[in-house]
């Protein structure tokens, strides 16, 4: 088991000698993403623990294998949070294993608050890692404001273990809102819902999250807006929001349980079921409705987050149509869950323009010259 940086250096040297690839992973909560590959596993799950946490400095340094749940509890006790709202993807992906902080950052995972507070990239301040050469190095720093050298922490977020093995991460933490409330608008079609969310996001109500789910059977479509902060502020902003959304049929404040369930559904994706392939589509918010229309033509079910900019879709086959719909909206589609045969045939990541793909390849080789971490998963 890997429990130290030296263990990683040794594992890399071993793999190099044996001519084998290394698949970097955490606890496996996102193992279902990408092709099944034959490679040695380099699990960082055993490299766990909090290195330093100083709440008033807004800085947390942890080892990559630390469970996300443990970190969430630690910062919650200080009335703080990881503002990008990372969550465990195990439920939606049907995986065992509880998400680790290293895995969350490597996957660039973020929840509904991404639209207002930024993603994992925006909260990664620094890290320590071992490259494919077996060399340990640091980048970034342990303070919230720093422009010394290239901002490699941004590159670490969403790198899916293809650049280096993280051994320590420094994250920015933020105060947890004193209170939050969810306002709902019922019965909007998708285009109107996107317009309502745009109006809300462009208003002074300082909306934290904006999501939409279409009508299913007897349940009407529901557009949700979350306000967070100090009670007097949430109250004032809620009143302004109700006024703003009157032309859309009116918004009402949901009770706490309803609000909680609405946002939790966007973490589990329970409304989409587990039978079909799961896609994650990123577009400019105003193009979201065009994408969902194309998805519906393929028989897909979907949920919308990030004011229209993020679409989760469950659909059987039709992968080409999903990618075409995303591309037509100048966005991209990631295949997150599918059977092994589909994953073998359809790459998880949306193909990028050739010139950009060549640059990405050169960047990966800068950290991993021999492609030790290129297992063929993506």
């Amino acid at each position: 088991m890997i429990t130290s940086e030296t263990d990683i250096v040794d594992a890399i040297a071993d793999a190099q000698r044996a001519g084998e690839k290394l698949a970097i992973c955490g606890a496996g909560s996102k193992a279902a993403v990408g092709r099944e590959v034959a490679a040695r596993t380099l699990s960082l799950a055993g490299l766990a623990g909090v290195v330093d946490y100083d709440p008033p400095e807004l800085v947390l340094t942890v080892r990559p294998g630390t469970p996300l749940a443990e970190i969430a509890a630690l910062v919650a006790a200080e009335r703080q949070m990881l503002a990008f709202e990372p969550f465990d993807h195990a439920a939606m992906l049907g995986c065992a294993g509880a998400a680790t902080i290293g895995g969350v950052v490597a996957a660039g995972a973020a929840g509904s608050r991404r639209v207002s507070a930024g993603g994992a990239r925006d909260h990664m301040l620094g890290f320590r890692a071992v490259t494919g050469r077996g060399e340990a190095f640091v980048a970034g720093a342990k303070v919230v404001k720093n422009v010394t050298g290239y901002d490699l922490p941004k590159l670490a977020a969403g790198s899916w273990g293809r650049l280096f093995a993280l051994t320590e991460l420094t994250l920015k933490v933020m105060p947890r809102p004193e209170t939050s409330g969810t306002w709902l608008v019922a019965g909007l079609d998708t285009a109107r819902a996107v317009a309502a969310m745009a109006a809300a996001m462009g208003s002074q109500s300082d909306v934290a999250c904006a999501a939409h789910r279409p009508a299913v059977g007897a349940s009407p479509a529901l557009t949700a807006l979350r306000l967070e902060g100090f009670e007097p502020s949430v109250k004032a902003r809620g009143a302004a929001l109700e006024h703003l959304l009157a032309p859309f049929g009116g918004a009402f404040r949901a009770d706490e349980a309803t609000g909680h369930t609405y946002w939790a559904d966007l973490h589990t994706l329970a409304p989409l079921g587990h039978e079909r392939e799961l896609w994650r589509i990123n577009v400019a918010p105003s193009r979201g409705a065009a994408v969902t229309a194309a998805l519906e033509a393929c028989g897909a079910d979907w949920l919308m987050d990030w004011a229209g900019g993020l679409i989760w879709a469950a659909v059987h086959r039709h992968g080409a149509e999903v990618r075409a719909a995303a591309a037509a909206a100048q966005g991209h589609a990631t295949l997150l869950r599918a059977d092994a045969a589909t994953r073998a045939a359809v790459p998880a990541f949306h193909p990028t323009a050739p010139a950009l793909a060549r640059l990405e390849e050169r960047v990966r080789r800068a950290f991993d010259p021999d492609g030790l971490f290129e297992t063929g998963r993506f």
């Binding site: 100083d54 008033p56 400095e57 009335r79 991404r114 930024g118 993603g119 925006d122 050469r133 060399e135 190095f137 640091v138 720093a141 303070v143 919230v144 404001k145 720093n146 422009v147 010394t148 050298g149 290239y150 901002d151 490699l152 941004k154 590159l155 969403g158 790198s159 650049l163 105060p175 947890r176 745009a198 996001m201 462009g202 002074q204 300082d206 902060g229 100090f230 007097p232 502020s233 004032a236 902003r237 302004a240 990123n282 577009v283 400019a284 918010p285 105003s286 990030w306 100048q330 966005g331 991209h332 949306h350 990028t352 010139a355 950009l356 640059l359 050169r362 960047v363 800068a366 010259p369």
Partner: protein, 497 residues
């Protein structure tokens, strides 16, 4: 000063006429500047201690021209230094004697404003403030607000990852940019990011922002715009000790409050500012805090009350809350005039930019006083207190022999101190040439090698803005094979500067 730049290449200097002719073939008319007199305005940026006229200036207007210029320079092994408005405080746009200075000032159009997606697409030469001007009628603004915002360009902001007084709440440039068009040194034009929040692959935008013009030339930027907050209010709080002010900041954040801005000034800065603008700053205090809130009035009023209580618990000797916009602006007037105010205390000043963990502030200020005594120079401090970003202003007189060198050495000592207490060399001004030789204080050879290898992925011939950020030139092919053992410097034969 003691800055050493890469030795100009004699063969390139000898080809000057040919290079100018090649640039004229790409950018006709007044877009190529080659006579000595007209080159002079380009010889330095905001860090005026260093001056070097470029070999030639080229001011393209289209991405195709930028691509053609870079491709030609790449094929002919000619160095290129990109420049926005030339307001860098770290010498990021300092020209090279044997280099082409590529100015983006004619890329000055706002291309598109999209209120539905809350983005603006602008050319890099558009000034920071012009973005806000373009969207303010619709109730929006562009959040990052570096103090040079009236002049600095968005392209320069992207290169430097510029901040401002509001970045604890609203982030730096990197948190407010969604995409860009970039031309690589070989002339290849790429689109990175877009209007969606996540990239399809690696977050290359994340490393382009803050790359100080070493990775590519940005020719278009998509920025996020935000709805302008309903109102803003500020507190002006005086403390009889720096410790009290520091604890007030820590307690505010611990109470879950992230103010829009939180600025601290030390006694010399307070006195200089008050003498200059006379806005009623208390003069019998050791530290002054300006704490600003923005948002709905209900929120601002609530937080003003909460922070007033925190301030009094920490021994505040004077607390004033702005009653109207005029008073809020008056609170800021002294802070905003701090630099010109300090410039009345001494003929010259040198503005530093380190970040420290906030809890170390009292100790750092104490040791800074000791350093000031040691170097026999004055220092005044303004401080982005929320995020620990210090701006010590070192007072000196360039006309007195040895003072400029002492100011530089004092500055270096301050930055070493910042790193020693767990902070960094630069919070928002960039490394440029100014802190280049201090990089080994913060990073090992292996750390720096890894950054250089990233540079090589974008610019394998190291032709774009060489001599900046990194204290040592390397050939990319050698870097790949270099292995550092126990901090020993490999390849001692390579030039250090």
């Amino acid at each position: 000063m003691s800055l050493v730049m890469p030795e100009p290449d004699a063969a390139t200097l000898a080809r000057r006429e040919e290079i100018v002719a090649a640039l004229r073939a790409i950018v006709p008319g007044e877009g190529v500047i080659a006579d000595a007199e007209s080159l002079r305005p380009y010889e330095s940026d905001g860090l005026t201690a260093y001056r070097q006229p470029p070999m030639v200036v080229v001011l393209p207007q289209t991405t195709a021209q930028v691509s053609a210029i870079l491709a030609w320079c790449h094929a002919n092994e000619v160095k290129v230094v990109p420049r926005g408005s030339g307001t860098s405080l770290s010498g990021g746009a300092l020209p090279l004697a044997d280099g082409v200075l590529l100015g983006l000032s004619r890329f000055n159009r706002v291309l598109e404003i999209d209120y539905a997606d809350r983005v603006a697409v602008v050319q890099p030469g558009v000034t920071n403030l012009a973005v806000t001007r373009a969207v303010e009628d619709a109730g929006f603004y562009y959040a990052p607000d570096p103090s040079s915002q009236i002049a600095c360009s968005i392209g320069g902001n992207v290169a430097e990852n510029s901040g401002g007084v509001h970045c604890l709440k609203y982030g730096l440039t990197t948190n407010n940019v969604l995409g860009c068009e970039i031309v690589l040194m070989d002339g290849e034009v790429l689109r990175i990011g877009g209007r969606q929040l996540d990239p399809a692959g690696l977050d290359l935008l994340g490393v382009v922002v803050g790359s100080e013009g070493l990775l590519g030339v940005v020719t278009e930027v998509t920025v996020r715009i935000l709805p302008k907050p309903e109102t803003a209010r500020a507190l002006l709080i005086g403390f009889s000790s720096v410790d009290g002010a520091g604890q007030c900041v820590a307690d505010t954040i611990a109470a879950g409050i992230i103010p829009a801005g939180m600025e601290m000034m030390d006694k010399p800065a307070i006195h200089a500012a008050e003498a200059f603008v006379k806005v009623g700053y208390p003069l019998d205090v050791e530290a002054l805090l300006i704490v600003e809130f923005d948002g709905p009035s209900a929120e601002c009023d609530h937080l003003i009350g909460a922070v007033e209580n925190i301030a009094r618990r920490n021994g505040a000797v004077s607390v004033r809350a702005s009653r109207d916009e005029e008073e809020r602006i008056a609170f800021w007037a002294g802070r905003k005039a701090a630099f010109p105010a300090v410039s009345r205390l001494a003929p010259d000043y040198y503005c530093m930019d380190g970040t420290i963990p906030r809890r170390r502030l009292p100790e750092v200020l104490q040791r800074m006083s000791a350093l000031a005594a040691h170097h026999e120079l004055g220092v005044a401090n303004v401080f982005h207190a929320g995020d620990g970003n210090l701006h010590p202003l070192i007072l000196y007189d360039a006309n007195l022999p040895g003072q400029i060198e002492r100011a530089e050495e004092f500055g270096n000592d301050i930055l070493r101190l910042c790193v020693e207490v767990g902070g960094v060399l630069t919070g928002e001004h960039g490394v440029g040439v100014e802190k280049r030789d201090l990089m080994p204080v913060m990073f090992t050879e292996t750390d720096l090698k890894q950054q250089l290898l990233l540079k090589c992925a974008f610019d394998p011939k190291s032709l774009l803005n060489p001599g900046k950020v990194f204290p040592q030139l390397h050939r990319c092919a050698e870097l790949g094979r270099m292995h550092v053992h126990h901090g020993q410097v490999p390849h001692p034969e390579l030039p250090r500067f």
